[in-house]
């Protein structure tokens, strides 16, 4: 499939790829706040069950020379980590009682 974002063996995660393969923390945190808990839960459930296989797949390549589809998969894992707090801790998108607080990530490792 020429227009798939993820490696072929992760075709089951492809429905989530366009939304959650995001390269920066700012995009991932923004997407999290803008997504319904129902959709977050669905994404979380789908990717958690494939997380170990996904990490193992990404591990086959040097970090500084990852093929595009593996890099997308890695970004998907970062999104999984970000939304895990909504599912595992908060039951909502935002950290409770943080209406006025912000903490912007301005520099992060690439990838």
């Amino acid at each position: 499939m020429a227009d798939s974002l993820l490696p072929a063996e992760f075709a089951d995660l492809e429905p989530y790829a366009a939304d959650w393969c995001l390269a920066t923390e700012t995009e991932r945190y923004g997407k999290r706040l803008a997504t319904s808990m129902q959709d977050i839960q669905a994404f979380y459930d789908a990717v958690v069950s494939r997380a170990e296989a996904a990490i193992a797949h990404c591990d086959r390549f040097p970090l500084d020379a990852m093929p595009e589809d593996a890099l997308n998969l890695l970004h998907l894992l970062y999104s999984m980590i970000n939304v895990s707090f909504c599912v595992e801790a908060w039951g909502q998108q935002r950290v409770p009682d943080t209406g006025a607080a912000m903490l912007d990530c301005l520099i992060e490792p690439v990838p």
Binding site: Y78, M80, M102
Partner: protein, 421 residues
């Protein structure tokens, strides 16, 4: 009753009798007048950390630091000889800010062979020397030798770049840091070059945020929901005690014992911690770092958790037992606002699995930091009501007591020296 031993005086606080045990006032955090005094008394006298040497990878690398509390901008640069220098960010011609992009109040960084003023094109070398004046012949008796950039005292310790804005610092950086902090010499900060950098504008006095991160008494309560119910219930029941507190001049530290996360029952952990083998304390599979310096883990805890070194006035180095570290900086912007900077530093990930573990630690850091940050704005608002003026501090909050005392001492000392003149 406390579970961990305390000093012979019966408490950490009484071990340092100059601190007293009385309730404290936070007037120093809600008073515009006190803030005006802090500008000169603290931020133009103390050594201030502005970054690390890795931010200046080669000759000509530079960054600017806005120190608004001192009404100053500093440019820090790697000079032609490989040394680190700092200058006041002011063109000697008409006083334009020399190095900035787009917005004069925002910090910038980059690489250059020389600094060129945007206004009339005066050019300065990396050593600060004035090298070029547009239409030099139009000036009167202008000797370029006399118009180099004004240097800022700048010294490096363990890769951390410090500046001192005083005309003549009262102490060298090494003397200022003192034996407790410099006992960290030899820690492999230079190997931990993978960096996450966070920034926040916080609606609270800078000292109140320092207070938030220099006691962990709040952790089982404020952060309860970060952990599974079984863990947070156990944590609240046992409460928090640190095995070691230490003061050294204006600096202070707290050391904690650790939890071996992977030895806990799995229902004490979140599923994502198991998937990523990481969490608040960092990656479970940390790097092999060799022998540690004597200043680390001063109580000899096993398992050890972290050491949080609170460097006067506004800088924190927090070293985790898992082989990574955090820094915090608190830059005042008014009596009730400041800019918070947080950095996470890891030994660079060698593969995706390690990188995923770093991501988990970084995301967890932000979830905690957001909770801490928002609480502060609420504290600032209610303190400013002055409905209550004195507040008790317990023994686990000794470092908060010390910070406010040091701030008062430095301001008092400054006032005394300036009324005698």
């Amino acid at each position: 009753m406390s579970r961990l031993p305390k000093p012979p005086e019966g408490s950490w606080t009484e071990h340092y009798p100059e601190l007293g045990t009385a309730p404290v006032s936070y007037e120093d955090s809600i008073s515009p007048e006190f803030y005006e005094l802090e500008r000169e008394a603290i931020f133009r006298r103390a050594w201030l950390n502005v970054g690390r040497v890795e931010q200046l990878p080669r000759k000509g690398s530079y960054f600017t630091k806005e120190v608004r509390v001192a009404r100053t901008s500093v440019v820090v640069v790697r000079d032609g000889g490989g040394g680190v220098r700092a200058f006041f960010n002011v063109c000697r011609h008409r006083g334009n800010k020399l190095v900035w992009d787009e917005f004069p109040g925002e910090e910038t960084s980059g690489f250059c062979r020389q600094f060129t003023c945007k206004y009339h094109g005066w050019r300065y070398g990396l050593d600060g020397a004035l090298n070029f004046v547009q239409q030099e012949g139009e000036f009167f008796d202008l000797d370029k030798e006399d118009f180099g950039l004004v240097p800022v005292h700048c010294e490096v310790w363990a890769g951390f770049i410090f500046v001192n804005l005083a005309r003549e610092p009262e102490q060298s950086l090494h003397d200022f840091l003192g034996p407790m902090v410099t006992a960290l010499d030899g820690y492999p900060f230079d190997k931990m070059t993978e960096r996450f950098y966070y920034r926040a504008e916080v609606g609270a006095n800078w000292k109140l945020y320092m207070d938030a991160f220099q006691e962990f008494y709040h952790a089982p309560v404020l952060h309860a929901k970060q952990t599974p119910a079984k863990f947070s219930t156990a944590a609240q029941q046992s409460g928090f005690e640190a095995p070691h507190y230490q003061l050294d001049g204006p600096h202070r530290l707290v050391s904690t014992s650790g939890i071996v996360a992977w030895e806990l029952a799995s229902d004490m952990r979140k599923p994502m911690e198991d998937i990523t083998r990481s969490g608040l304390f960092g990656p479970w599979d940390g790097p092999e770092l060799g022998e540690m310096p004597p200043g680390l883990n001063p109580a000899g805890c096993d398992p050890w958790g972290l050491d949080s070194f609170q460097l006067w006035p506004n800088f924190v180095i927090l070293i985790w037992s898992g082989g990574w570290y955090l820094t915090y900086q608190y830059w005042p912007t008014s009596y009730n606002t400041h800019t918070f900077e947080g950095n996470l530093y890891f030994v660079p990930a060698r593969n995706a699995r390690e990188r995923v573990a770093h991501e988990m630690a970084a995301v967890t850091f932000k979830e905690y930091g957001l909770q801490d940050g928002n609480t502060l704005e609420a504290t600032q608002m209610s303190l400013e009501s002055r409905a209550v003026t004195h507040f008790p501090l317990n023994d686990q909050e000794i470092l908060c007591r010390h910070l406010h005392k040091v701030a008062a001492d430095w301001v008092e000392d400054y006032k005394k020296n300036h009324t005698e003149v």
